[in-house]
């Protein structure tokens, strides 16, 4: 308990807070430009750490890190383009809200939910740290493999129009991730002899193509601004404003809390990143909703579900990071390097001797989330205006930025070609009812799933599937995939047996559902 307070006390100093603010501002700028920001740019800030004192250095780099994901949420809502890839889930309902002229409200929900989530992350860290060792011992590669698979399949299934299309979307994403030199064996796969494919397909190029470019194509086809027929004046009315978004979160505080818990729990599992965390939380919000069919069509609770998990997961991912030096997320890998430079070695010793620093890290992240949310809330009305601008201005601009981002990632023209191809693919895909989100998640998690499966087979043999936790997770995946079908089959049978008609069956089903 002491360390919790001490960590906060370290932050409350003029110098630390100044560097925090500096980091946050930089982070928002970095995260805001889709494809141009993210971890690679964050790494540019690392050399500055050599000059800074430990506390100010942490405030600076973590301030930036916490703010980067917020910028990504902004573009997800305004243009259906996840800034750092994780926010595809935010776009599920965030973008439809923008299309209804409610961009300001969506931004309000996002900012508030992620701020609260960030603070919750500190609490989660505090609770989980004593259990870190147990978690690491029980969350081995078999479990991580199963979780990754669960995430990919269920995301695809939920987002696509049929179960089969969902599985295909996720599977296609997994297959695309196989392109490149296999990191375990060093053997090139699907590279067709070109060196430029050795690194695999660029995730930025793929994301920009599937989401930004395909959406801009759709926008051009519609011929209107993002908000469609809604006029700008509408956005000042109740139900459309930033403050309405804030109210949404406050009213649904229980849901926010639940979403943050899911986010933090998912964050603890190494390798399972933000997308899965946000997606599980979104799925939960949908289950709890009074009217689940509104999800995907602009339900504020959808954005709430996704964003409440977003920052909470960082608190969770600090657990394996500081306890064992195992990055809980790819961003954490960078943070480990930063810790080392500042003189802290992640590991059991850090828990014993520098626990106050561990909590300082958590507090800085939370403060960074809150700060960037406040700045975001202030900027939201202005940002929302972009959704009312003509497509002839918005589309070329966004496509331009997307292409530049795709190029910068690998410095190969192939990146831009990939983005364009992915754009066409994404456009067709969404029209046919497949899931772009499932595809990108399959692509992002492909290496995690494959690597952990490899280790699992080597260390435990094929019997790894029967490990208790793994088995439970896989059964969960199966139930998501085949549950609805099984259920309706069983219901049908029951109906015939009991000779009920449809209305009676519905009433029976509803009353048994609670």
């Amino acid at each position: 308990m002491n360390a919790l307070i001490e960590g906060l006390a370290l932050l409350i100093s003029l110098e630390a807070l100044t560097y925090l603010l500096l980091g946050v501002v930089l982070g928002i700028v970095i995260g805001f430009l889709p494809g141009l920001g993210g971890l690679a740019t964050l790494a540019l800030l690392i050399p500055f750490l050599f000059e800074l004192e430990p506390v100010t250095g942490l405030s600076f780099i973590l301030g930036a890190y916490g703010a980067v994901s917020f910028g990504g949420s902004i573009t997800a809502i305004l243009a259906n383009t996840p800034g750092t890839g994780e926010q595809v889930v935010t776009a599920f309902d965030g973008y439809p809200m923008a299309q209804q002229g409610k961009a300001a409200r969506a931004l309000g929900v996002s900012a508030t939910a992620s701020a609260l989530g960030g603070v919750f992350g500190v609490v989660a860290l505090f609770v989980a740290i004593p259990f870190a060792r147990q978690l690491i011992i029980h969350l081995r590669p078999p479990e991580i493999f199963a979780l990754g698979l669960l995430g990919v399949l269920t995301m695809g299934v939920m987002d696509a129009s049929t179960v089969t299309k969902g599985i295909i979307s996720g599977g296609l994403g997994l297959m695309l991730s196989f392109v490149g030199v296999d990191s375990v064996t060093g053997v090139p796969r699907f590279t067709f002899g070109t060196l430029s494919l050795y690194d695999g397909l660029g995730v930025t190029a793929l994301t920009m193509g599937l989401f930004a470019i395909s959406e801009m194509m759709a926008l051009y086809a519609r011929g209107t601004s993002i908000a469609g027929s809604i006029k700008y004046q509408r956005s000042k009315e109740p139900g459309y404003r930033v403050i309405d978004g804030v109210r949404d979160v406050v009213r649904n505080w229980k849901l926010t809390l639940q979403g943050s818990s899911i986010g933090a729990a998912a964050g603890v599992v190494p390798g399972i990143g933000g997308t899965v965390a946000m997606f599980f939380s979104y799925g939960w919000a949908k289950r709890q909703a009074a009217d689940p069919s509104m999800f995907g069509k602009g339900a504020p609770e959808g954005v709430l579900g996704a964003e409440s998990a977003n920052n909470a997961k960082e608190g969770g991912s600090l657990v394996p990071t500081v306890s064992f030096g195992i990055p809980g997320s790819s961003g954490m890998a960078l943070m480990i390097g930063a810790f080392l430079i500042l003189g802290f070695t992640p590991g059991p010793q850090m828990i014993e001797e520098n626990l106050d620093i561990v909590f300082l890290v958590a507090w800085v992240l939370a403060a960074s989330n809150v700060l960037s949310s406040i700045i975001g809330l202030g900027m939201a009305p202005m940002l929302a205006r972009a959704t009312f601008v003509r497509h002839t201005i918005v589309a070329p601009l966004l496509i331009g930025i997307a292409l530049v981002g795709s190029f910068i990632e690998s410095r190969l023209v192939l990146g831009m070609v990939l983005a364009v191809v992915a754009g066409a693919l994404g456009y067709v895909f969404r029209g046919l009812g497949y899931s772009n989100a499932g595809l990108i998640l399959g692509f992002v998690l492909g290496p995690v799933v494959e690597r952990n499966m490899n280790i699992a087979i080597q260390a435990y043999g094929s019997g790894f599937l029967l490990r208790p936790i793994t088995l439970v997770i896989l059964l969960l995946a199966l139930s998501v995939l085949f549950g609805p079908q099984l259920r309706s089959r069983l219901v049908g049978r029951l109906q015939r047996r009991l000779a009920l008609d449809d209305d009676e069956t519905d009433r029976l089903m509803d009353s048994s559902r609670d």
């Binding site: 971890l39 690679a40 790494a43 690392i46 050399p47 050599f50 060792r133 690491i136 011992i137 029980h138 081995r140 590669p141 490149g180 030199v181 296999d182 990191s183 375990v184 064996t185 060093g186 053997v187 090139p188 060196l195 050795y198 690194d199 190494p270 390798g271 394996p320 064992f324 030096g325 195992i326 990055p327 890998a333 960078l334 943070m335 480990i336 390097g337 930063a338 080392l340 430079i341 500042l342 003189g343 070695t345 992640p346 590991g347 059991p348 010793q349 014993e352 201005i393 690597r451 952990n452 490899n454 280790i455 080597q458 260390a459 435990y460």
Partner: protein
């Protein structure tokens, strides 16, 4: 209302194009300026330009074949600003991870030998890659333009505290397979373990795919593996906290922090062949982190880079930075590094047969 936006947009477009043109022209000007001073404090001015190549005003890429945040990355990002100062150029660190360091090494090897691309490489990894003819490796280890050595952190074989091994003797006398948690197939740890296992004669099984020492250590904690092979820097915290037990040190001298831990050479005992092989292995690891340029770099240019690098690596401020980051430095300049490589190369023949069996 329609007129104004159009004019504004036109104005904006014209200004952007102007800005781009100015930026492009600005870039040209910088490279046209003659360099006033050369690298590493040589004080020829003006008339020395034609004889001593200079990289002043250029952008030099320093390739790191691993992810940001790791050991190699930290050394690179640490030395980059000092090197930039010495060369009066911009030094940009680029991460090119993948295939256990192969992709980055490939990139450096394939680059133009104009001094604008250099890299920090894992010499043991490169050596083993070449010796085994690893698919995907497009470099020839004997052809690097070596610029210097920045660190030489020797590796350690260690086990979990709850495991069956408390000392090197336990390991060597093992009757059942010793399960090792390792990174990628073809990494230097992979081959290092094989060479030691074959030479000292204990049965082993390698589980590959763990991403970093953190995960390797976690496998020990969970009882998923019996032992692992990793640099002593990475092992230190794990062992000091009581979770790990040091078994063997891959070097010709015992480690300062672990005076009771045998070296692989000591463990080879009286077997002359085994001793020789272990000595070769230790020699390869003495070149653990070196800075290289593509083959056939002009010798004068290589000297400029080498001198600048040495000055950067021995800068007291840089040394202080590295100490704070817990990274040990074992700096060798161009000449010394090359001499060390020559002597290490001589012993490679001993290692080859063991690797070819795989």
């Amino acid at each position: 209302m329609r007129r104004q936006p159009n004019t504004l947009i036109r104005l904006f477009a014209v200004l952007s194009v102007l800005a781009l043109i100015l930026a492009a022209c600005g870039g040209d000007d910088a490279t046209d300026e003659p360099a006033e001073t050369t690298a590493a404090g040589e004080d020829s001015e003006g008339d020395g330009d034609d004889e001593m190549p200079s990289l002043a005003g250029e952008t030099v890429r320093l390739i790191v074949p691993y992810d940001p945040g790791g050991g190699f990355d930290t050394y690179a990002r640490g030395v980059a600003p000092y090197l930039a100062e010495q060369l009066e150029a911009e030094v940009v660190v680029e991460n090119r991870p993948g295939a256990g360091g192969l992709l980055g090494a490939n990139e450096v090897f394939q680059a133009d030998p104009d001094g604008l691309t250099i890299g920090i490489i894992n010499y043991p990894g490169a050596v083993f890659g070449t010796l085994t003819g690893q698919e995907g490796a497009t470099f020839d280890n004997s052809q690097w333009t070596v610029l210097g050595r920045i660190a030489a952190v020797s590796p350690m074989i260690y086990s979990g505290a709850d495991g069956a091994f408390a000392s090197a003797d336990d390991l060597i006398g093992a009757e059942e397979e010793v399960v090792f948690s390792l990174g990628g197939v073809g990494s230097d740890a992979y081959y290092g373990t094989i060479i030691i296992g074959e030479t000292l004669g204990f049965p082993y099984r390698l589980v590959t795919g763990y991403d970093g020492t953190g995960e390797q250590n976690a496998a020990l904690l969970a009882g998923e593996a019996d032992a692992t092979f990793s640099s002593i820097d990475s092992a230190q915290a794990f062992i000091d906290s009581g979770d790990g037990v040091p078994l063997l040190y891959v070097s010709d001298e015992r480690a300062e922090g672990f005076p009771d831990t045998q070296t692989v050479i000591e463990a080879a005992g009286d077997d002359a062949d085994a001793v020789r092989i272990m000595e070769s292995l230790a020699a390869v690891y003495s070149l653990e982190r070196i800075i290289v340029a593509p083959p056939d770099v002009d010798p004068a240019l290589a000297e400029v880079l080498g001198d600048a690098l040495f000055a950067a690596m021995t800068d007291p401020d840089f040394e202080a930075d590295m100490e704070e980051a817990g990274r040990s430095l074992n700096v060798l300049g161009l000449e010394d590094a090359r001499a060390l490589i020559e002597s290490a190369s001589a012993g490679l023949e001993d290692l080859q047969p063991l690797l070819e069996e795989e």
